[in-house]
Structures are given as C-alpha cells and as structure tokens.
C-alpha cells in the first residue's frame, strides 16, 4: 500500500511558524530532595536543543515539566511560555525511550492514535497522511501489522510517524534511540533530523555523539540542585558527520563537562533516581 | 517372729500392688455419632453419660455431632464408629441400598416429624392443603409421609406444590413463603414458632394414615452385633432413661450443666415435650411394627423389598452392670 508522501508532512506546513519555548522558574522536588530550583531553559525556535547529564540529575523531570506531565511523588512547578506569547498546551508532541505503541492496535491505528483520543473522526485524509508517513519512515508494508511483530528499530520508526502525524511545532524526546543498536540508532537519528526539520526539538540523551550529531544547542545538566551550563553550539546543520574534525574536538569538550558533572553528582551523593 | 513380719509385709505389699494395678484397667472406648447437634432428643444419652452409668458399665463413651446428618450411618457401616443415632425410616432405605446396618436400640419411640401450619392460618385440616405450597427438608422421605397423609384426606401429591426449603422450616412458614411444612419436629419447630409469637398447628403422620415408627434409633454395623460393649451400652442407656423419667428436673440440670449453651427457652420447652416420648425399654424391638412400616415404605416406592426383621433389627441380651 503506497501513497505519495505529502510535502506538508515534513514541515510545520499550515500550522504555526517555528515556535520558541522558554521554561522559567522551574522547580522540581522528588522525594523531599530538591532536584532543581529556579532553573531556566530556552528552546530556540526551529532548532534542536540537546540535554545531557548524569543519571538522576533530573533531565527527564525537566522534560516532563515542559510537557505538563507530573511525575509520581514529585512536586514540580514552572512557567512555560512560547515565543508567540501563548502556552505550550496542545502544541507539543512526545517521544520516549519506549516506543509506547499500544499492543492491541495495528501500526496504522497506533500512528493515528491522536485523532482517536481526541475524538476526531479518523477521516480518509488522516489515513492517507498516516500511510504516507509510514512510507516515509519505511514501514509501508507494516501498516496492518501488530507491534509485537516489529523489531525495536521499526517500532521507534512507527513512533516517529505517530509523532509526525500529530503535526505539532514542538517535539520533546526522552532518549528515544538509546535502546537501539548503534547502526539503527544512526539511521534513526538521520531520519528524525530529516523529518523533524523546521520544528523545535528538545532531545534528552546520554549519548554525547548523538547530541553533537543532532543538536544546535547542547546543555549539560549537573549538580544538585542542578544547573544548566552554557550551550555548546556545533557548527553545520544536523545531522552532522561523526568523522568531522570539529565534531571530534567538541566531543572532547563535551566529555570533560560530563565527567565534571558526574564528579559533582558523586560528591553530592546522588542516589540512582528513577527519572 | 521375724518370719511372720516378713510374710505379712509381703502380703501387704502384694495387695498394695494389686490395688495399684486395678485402676490401670482402662474402660472400653466407644464412639457414638449423633444425628445432629446435641439437643433434648438425646437426653437419655446425656443423662447416662453425666450420671456415670456408662462408666459403671466400663465404657468410655464419646458423643460426636456430625457435619452432615447423612454421614453417621455410612460411617458406622464402614466401621469408623460403633453406634450412630439415626432414623427408622432412613434405616429401611439404607438397608435397601445395601448398607450393612442393624437397629440395636431405640431412643425416641414415637414419630416426631409432623405437618405444621400456622395456627391462625387458613388451613384447618389436611384437606385444606389443596393447591397450597408445602416446604420440606431433603430427608428423602418427607414426600412419602405427605403422600400418605394427603391420601387419607382424599388428595394426592399433584394437588400441592412441594418446595425444598432445606433447613429453614420455621422461617419459611413464618414468613409465609410456604403454607405448610412437612418434616418439622413437633417438639422443636412448634415450640420455636410459639416463642416467636406465631404458633403453629401440627398434623401428626401417625394419626393421618402413616404407620407409627421410631423417630430416633441406634444403629450398629451388621457384623458387630456380638460386640460385648453393645449390651452394656444399652443397659446404661436404660438406666439413664429411667433416671430421666423419675427425676426430670434433676436430669435437666445435668443436661444444661454439661451443655451450658443449651440453657434457653426453646430447649427447655423441647425437653418437656420430649420426655414422654423416650423409649422406656431402649433395647426392646417391636418386630411387627417395623415390618408394618417397611410395607408402608414399599407401597410408597421408597424401598424395593420388605426384608425379614432379623436382617436389620436385633434385640441384644442384657449385659452385666
């Protein structure tokens, strides 16, 4: 089942121009420990911002705070504003480490999940768009398959298609490729960079190379309460080549920042916090 | 002189040893399975036990209440207990089904089962039951009683609706869910209804076309009738019955002394009503009466053959006291 990929599926299209996002006065306390307080994060419009840091520092909490998802047992406050003055509600899409495909739905039904949840009729046009996206991510043959028959990489690709069908200007991703093998990871990084072009993306990752390949602004989060350092801004457009000398140079810089962050974490006696 | 002292000492010592040895001769154990939880119907047994008559007969009797009333005869037939309190009608059916049981004694020598209606209800005679609902407990034999009683009144089972109410005989008639109940014990359910304030009127089967029978009997395993404990048991039981007959009030005190939770109005009334119904001669067997009842059961289709009484009833010889 093939359909011509519709051009508007890879660009914000009829929806808003690239949206900048600012999170300010962010406060998250988890289990009576303050993870961060008075934190501020800027997501540049239409660009990829990457967030790295040691486990337990609060990266995922930050992402969830922006999305408006409370964590269990956490006390989080913060103000999220967009560059056009309005809030972020309904304008952000989410991808997690787990593909979150519902096992009882086919791939196609999973991709069109948003429509179903909002009670909008899954009209023919939506279906065509979904099939087009599936073709773009290379899953046109799997439209009627169930998630359990797909490999990890294929499932994340389906998740990507689902994210794209939502057609939202901001996309927040929490380690979406970390569960995949190296080759698949690189392929999906390329695919994501291509398909999410023009959207504002926040990518939480613990892979410095991934951050360097995809990020326009890379922050390392460290300490408790956590703080963000100044952004590292690689040159060139993502996805960048790993063999690029500039990238290799920045990798050293990034690694030293991460090592410092890890040291701070040990000093602060951070226990393994489930994000 | 020393020799005399020594002999005397030896004699004293040997007597002392013999005296010491005598109590170690244990009484014979016997297990009696009751038909239901302890109640005034078992008075002769309780009195015999509490007055020490079993002990006098060298018996250590244990009375056990069953979980399922249908079990005791089967357990005795299987050799798990020496005696069971059972019902004469059931004995006929059990023997017909091949259980190796024999009646060795009688506890209650009249029927207790009755047809009970509300005293202030519309039913004044058995004939009034036409088109009515009658509750019964699954005893396997109530419909035969009822059928005979209805027949005498010119009705048949098809003229009434039978509803199985199991153990809730009194509640079902008091609440009006049925118009009459069959299988209610005249010494129990009638008193129960009276105490609650809804007195009943009873029609007695033996007055309405059913041959008289023993409500409660003692049964033993067929091949164990020569057990020497049985005649001793029955003698002790007779002593208990006699005491009960001569000293009913003292006997009641003995009863509630042993079973404090039975000291209530219902049991007190049931005790009084049952006193005159106990078999004064527990071991005696009226063969013709049993055969007459067997013929009644055969006519009702409850048993296939009328056996000679010697197959399932015996009068045991007296034991030494």
């Amino acid at each position: 089942m093939t359909a011509d990929p519709h051009p508007e599926t890879t660009e914000p299209g009829a929806s808003a121009a690239p949206l900048g996002v600012r999170l300010s006065a962010a406060h998250v306390a988890w289990d009576h420990r303050v993870l961060f307080d008075g934190l501020q994060v800027e997501l540049a419009a239409g660009r990829w911002t990457c967030l790295l840091g040691p486990s337990g520092v609060g990266k995922s909490m930050l992402l969830r705070l922006i999305l408006g998802l409370e964590g269990a047992n956490s006390d989080s406050t913060g103000r999220v504003t967009c560059s056009d003055g309005a809030g972020l509600a309904g304008r952000a899409a989410f991808m997690a480490q787990d593909d979150l495909l519902y096992p009882w739905l086919t791939v196609l039904d999973n991709v069109t999940l948003g429509r179903r949840l909002r009670g909008e009729p899954a009209a023919g046009q939506t279906r065509d768009r979904a099939l087009g996206l599936l073709a773009d991510v290379g899953l046109s043959d799997q439209a009627d398959a169930f998630p359990r028959t797909l490999s990890g990489g294929m499932r994340q690709r389906a998740a990507l298609a689902r994210t794209l069908l939502e057609d939202r200007p901001v996309v927040l991703m929490d380690e979406p490729f970390s569960a995949l093998d190296a080759i698949t990871r690189v392929r999906l990084q390329d695919l994501a960079a291509e398909m999410l072009e023009g959207r504002t993306v926040l990518l939480v990752t613990h892979d410095p190379l991934e951050a360097l390949r995809l990020g326009d602004a890379i922050h390392v989060m460290s300490g408790r309460p956590a703080k963000l350092d100044d952004a590292l801004a690689p040159q060139g457009d993502p996805p960048r080549r790993v063999t690029d000398a500039h990238i290799l140079e920045l990798q050293g810089e990034l690694l030293s920042r991460l090592t410092e962050a890890a040291g701070l974490a040990e000093a602060a006696g951070l226990a393994e916090v489930v994000k | 002189m020393t020799r005399l002292k020594f002999t005397t000492l030896a004699q004293i010592l040997s007597v002392a040893v013999l005296l010491a040895a005598a109590p170690t001769q244990a009484a014979d154990k016997m297990t009696v399975l009751l038909d239901w939880f302890v109640n005034p119907d078992h008075a002769p047994l309780i009195v015999a036990k509490e007055r020490g008559y079993f002990e006098d007969a060298g018996l250590d009797v244990e009375l056990i209440a069953p979980a399922d009333p249908n079990d005791p005869p089967k357990l005795v037939a299987a050799g798990k207990a020496e005696l069971a309190v059972s019902y004469q009608p059931q004995l006929h059916m059990q023997v017909d089904a091949g259980l190796p049981l024999v009646r060795v004694g009688t506890l209650v020598a009249t029927p207790l089962s009755s047809l009970v209606v509300l005293a202030d209800g519309p039913i004044k005679s058995v004939a009034d039951l036409k088109g009515r609902k009658i509750g019964y407990s699954v005893g396997g034999f109530e419909d035969a009683l009822l059928s005979a009683m209805l027949e005498k009144a010119g009705l048949s089972l098809s003229d009434v609706t039978l509803i199985n109410v199991n153990f809730s005989l009194s509640p079902s008639i008091i609440s009006g869910q049925v118009d009459a109940v069959i299988g209610a014990f005249r010494n129990f359910e009638l008193n129960q209804m009276d105490i609650i304030g809804k007195p009943g009127r009873a029609f007695y089967p033996e007055e309405e076309g059913v041959p008289a029978y023993d409500e409660l009997i003692l049964v033993a395993r067929k091949d164990a009738t020569d057990d020497p404990r049985l005649p001793r048991f029955l003698s002790a039981l007779e002593r208990g019955t006699l005491y009960l007959t001569n000293h009913p009030d003292e006997a009641w005190q003995l009863f509630i002394g042993a079973y404090k939770d039975l000291d209530d109005e219902l049991n007190r009334r049931a005790w009084a009503d049952t006193l005159r119904r106990f078999a004064l001669r527990p071991a005696a067997l009226d063969a013709a009466r049993y055969t007459r009842f067997a013929e009644f059961l055969k006519a009702q289709g409850l048993i296939k053959t009328v056996r000679p009484i010697s197959d399932y009833g015996v009068e045991l010889g007296r034991g030494e006291l």
Partner: protein, 251 residues
C-alpha cells in the same frame, strides 16, 4: 481442537478413581466405582441432563450478571476515591462470609426460585472480576497514559482507548477465576432451597442413599464446569489475541 488429550486425561482420571476404590476398599455407599456411576447415568440420562440444564442456566446467568457487576464495581473504584474507600471493605466482607450464612438471607428476599440461585452465584463470581479488572485499570503502563495526555486525550477517552484495552488481559484472568468458582455458587444456592438442579439432585440422592446417582450428578457438574471453563478461556484468548503468551519453560 485436539480431542485426544482430553480423552486421555479423562481415561486417566477414571483409572485413578477405580484404583482409589479398589485400594481403599471403600464400600459402594461411600465411594462407588466408575462402573456403578456410569450405570446410574445411563439408566436415566434425562434426569441428569434436565437438572444439568437448570444448574447451567443458573451458572450462565450468574456469570453474566457477575461479569457486568464486576466491571462496574472496578470502574467505580478506579474513578471515585470514596467508592474505593467505602466499597472495597464491604466487598471483601462479602467474600469472607461463608456463603451458607448468606444463602438463607438471599432465599428469604428472593424466594426459592432461580433468582436466589443466580444471586448466590453472582455473589461468588463478581469479586474476582472486580479485583482483577480494577488491578488492570490502575496498573496501566504509565508511559501509555503519558502519551495519551500529551495528545490531549480526555479522561473518558483515556479510559476508553487506553486503560480498558490495556486492562483486558487482567479482566480475562479474573473472568477465568470467576468461571471456575461459578458452579460452586450455583450449587450452594441449590442446597439452601431448590427443587431442581444438580446440587439439589445430589442432596436428594444422598438422603435416599442413592450414592451412585449422587456421584453421577457430581460427574455431570464436573463436565459442565470443565466445558464452561475451557470455552471461556478460548473466548478470552481469542479476544486478547494481541497479547503473546511467553511460556517461562521456554526461557
């Protein structure tokens, strides 16, 4: 469906039964052998089928009602905190009280007809369904809920499209347990006061010392229960075909 396996199991059980009878020397009025019971059945098949139909009807109605009430109870407890606080202890008590204590009360309210038997069966059936379904509803994979919320799904939409489908395997589990205990509820109801059904037949036959008939009725009940269970199991597995079964034995 492989018929050979059930036949072998049945043959094995019958052989075991005969062995127990022979070795223990149990008399026929306590434990009849398979031959006697089979003879009792063959002599009057209409009797057992007729009463079997009555009990089957009670079980099926009880299952249906228990299933619906179980689902409603689970939804109520999952969505209304007061329901969980006040309803749950009551439900647990309803299960702890032995049924023979409740049965006469039910009979008093509902009479001696089928209503009280269905009520008994429902009482025993609904709790496994409630407990399992409630568990399933409240233990939905958090990531799935997160995703649905970022997609602006309403509470009702999340219930309908996420929680309920995700809870179906748990519901299936609860339904299986309920199906296994359903016959007990129906039979106990019949023991309290009935004029038909396999429980009633067993009671009646026992009182009349027709032990072979009692066991034949018991056997009919057993076959009924097993057939019902495997039918429900099959239906559940078909409905939840999207969940793969991974047998630990294959690890």
């Amino acid at each position: 469906m492989n018929l050979l396996r059930p036949l072998i199991i049945a043959a094995g059980l019958i052989a075991l039964w005969q062995a127990v009878v022979t070795v223990s020397g149990a008399p026929p009025y306590i434990l009849p052998g398979p031959a006697a019971v089979a003879a009792a059945w063959i002599a009057r098949p209409a009797l057992f089928l007729g009463h079997g139909l009555i009990t089957a009807a009670e079980i099926l109605l009880g299952l249906g009602l228990g299933f619906v009430l179980g689902i409603m109870g689970a939804l109520a407890m999952a969505y209304f905190r007061p329901a969980r606080r006040w309803l749950l202890p009551v439900l647990v008590i309803s299960q702890a009280v032995p049924v023979f204590a409740l049965a006469p009360v039910l009979v008093l309210w509902l009479g001696y007809g089928m209503a009280s038997k269905v009520a008994m069966a429902t009482l025993i059936i609904f709790f496994p369904v409630t407990a399992a379904f409630h568990d399933g509803l409240t233990r939905t994979e958090p990531g799935w809920i997160d995703l649905a919320r970022t997609m602006n799904g309403s509470r009702a939409a999340i219930l309908r499209h996420v929680r309920i489908p995700a809870a179906l395997p748990a519901l299936g589990s609860g339904l299986r347990v309920a199906t296994a205990v359903a016959p007990i509820g129906a039979v106990v109801g019949e023991w309290v006061g009935a004029s038909g059904g396999l429980g009633y037949l067993m009671l009646h036959a026992n009182a009349r010392i027709q032990v072979d008939v009692m066991f034949a009725a018991l056997l009919t009940l057993a076959v009924l229960a097993v057939t019902l269970y495997f039918t429900v199991d099959f239906a559940v597995r078909r409905t939840i075909s999207w969940q793969p079964e991974t047998l630990p034995a294959n690890d």
